[in-house]
Symmetry: C2
Subunit: 244 residues, 2 copies
């Protein structure tokens, strides 16, 4: 990867992981205008109902998109890490139908819609590579639906860990089988449609079965048995559409 020292390097890394990029693609991406911003857990970058004029590129940290159901129930519909463009849709649908917020400390770059539209209209081949990111995001949401709808709680959480490991690995975030996992058990429960208590018990079970271990201090997880975890989680990475 060239010039990953650039601020927008994570975007290049991400798009390169899911499609091929030409030199001029990379130049165009790295030349995008942006504004940097940092925040702590709970920071709401865009809220349901907002009509943003810029897209958000995740540079560091873990972010989530969520919707509220009746009686304060929260459903996190996706997690986002370095290189993700979680709200490209806002270029196409004016009003946000969910909220994007920070789950850990993190940094994002805001890229004006106008700059994105310019790419989509003037260089549609590069535009298609950006859109691919969004289509993969949809694919991930479908897999999550499958997870919540049809997998046991143990399988669900194993699947989530497999997914986050695979995505962090593609983002170059992984040391062997250890990767950053700053999600609280509350966040996990809100994404998997279960209670916090149950998340806690399932995590204990995964640890007891020597599939994972966690390091509270470093907020990281180590996968002890990758094959076993994938089997328990019914995990097949094809839905992530990451090039091999």
């Amino acid at each position: 990867m060239r010039r990953t020292g650039d601020v927008l390097g994570p975007l290049v890394t991400r798009l390169a992981a899911i499609g091929s990029l030409t030199e001029s693609d990379i130049d165009a991406l790295l030349a995008l205008p942006y504004t940097l911003r940092e925040g702590k857990p709970g920071w709401e970058i865009v809220r349901e109902g907002d009509r943003p004029s810029q897209c958000c590129l995740i540079l560091d940290g873990t972010f989530g998109r969520f919707k509220m159901a009746a009686q304060g129930a929260k459903q996190i519909v996706s997690y986002h890490i370095r290189g993700d463009l979680p709200d490209l849709q806002s270029c196409f649908l004016p009003a946000m139908d969910h909220t994007l917020s920070a789950l850990t400390v993190g940094t994002v770059a805001f890229i004006p819609h106008a700059a994105i539209r310019h790419i989509l209209e003037e260089t549609p081949l590069l535009g298609a590579k950006l859109l691919r990111e969004s289509f993969i995001d949809s694919s991930v949401t479908r897999e999550w639906l499958c997870n919540v709808g049809r997998r046991s709680s143990e399988s669900r959480i194993a699947h989530l860990i497999c997914e986050m490991f695979t995505r962090h690995r593609a983002a170059g975030h992984v040391d062997q089988f250890t990767f950053p996992f700053g999600l609280t058990q509350v966040a996990i429960s809100d994404s998997q449609g279960m209670s916090t208590v149950h998340v806690n018990r399932v995590l204990q079970k995964l640890k007891a079965n020597k599939l994972i271990s966690s390091h509270a201090k470093s907020k990281a997880i180590t996968i002890l048995d990758w094959e076993g975890l994938q089997a328990v989680g019914d995990f097949d990475p094809r839905y992530l559409h990451i090039l091999h």
Copy 2:
């Protein structure tokens, strides 16, 4: 709506429901090349793993996209009716990550990827209107995830009925509060992550509470109490992004 007698009229109706179309947009859409095909329940139009070279426009019937989880568990991730373009993503992601199949008898038009790509590249403004359909599809999937993850079974099914009613109404398929609903209870259970037995009981409860009534013969549902059904289903149609 002009020229809705045209075979591709449902596409025009759909895109007009979610965005404005110019005369030349309509002409370009109606001039798209296509192949017609009909099928019965169980017909698999595109399968997981396929690399199709055309997109599928639904002209009649109800279709579903589904994924398989371990041990034969099926998760339906979306329903599709007249005017939907359920696999526009196949223009961007070569391999299908799910299967599209017919849930009732139905008719589709296949439109070659090349023709879609031509629109996206040559008339990006019209292309954006096509893409909007896909972004709304993602929004619907997120709402389903919220449904399955965080709503009670009664709320879930009420929500589903509200959604299908609203979509059918936008497609011009509705007579007062009666609309075609050809889904079996098995299909409902596979989409809502519950057992068939439970779906049956919840439907009985909705009927007992005078929220809906069903007509087995005509495979249709009548909503008896639209306000009440929306309240039970925690339904807010904004996620459908249908213009008022």
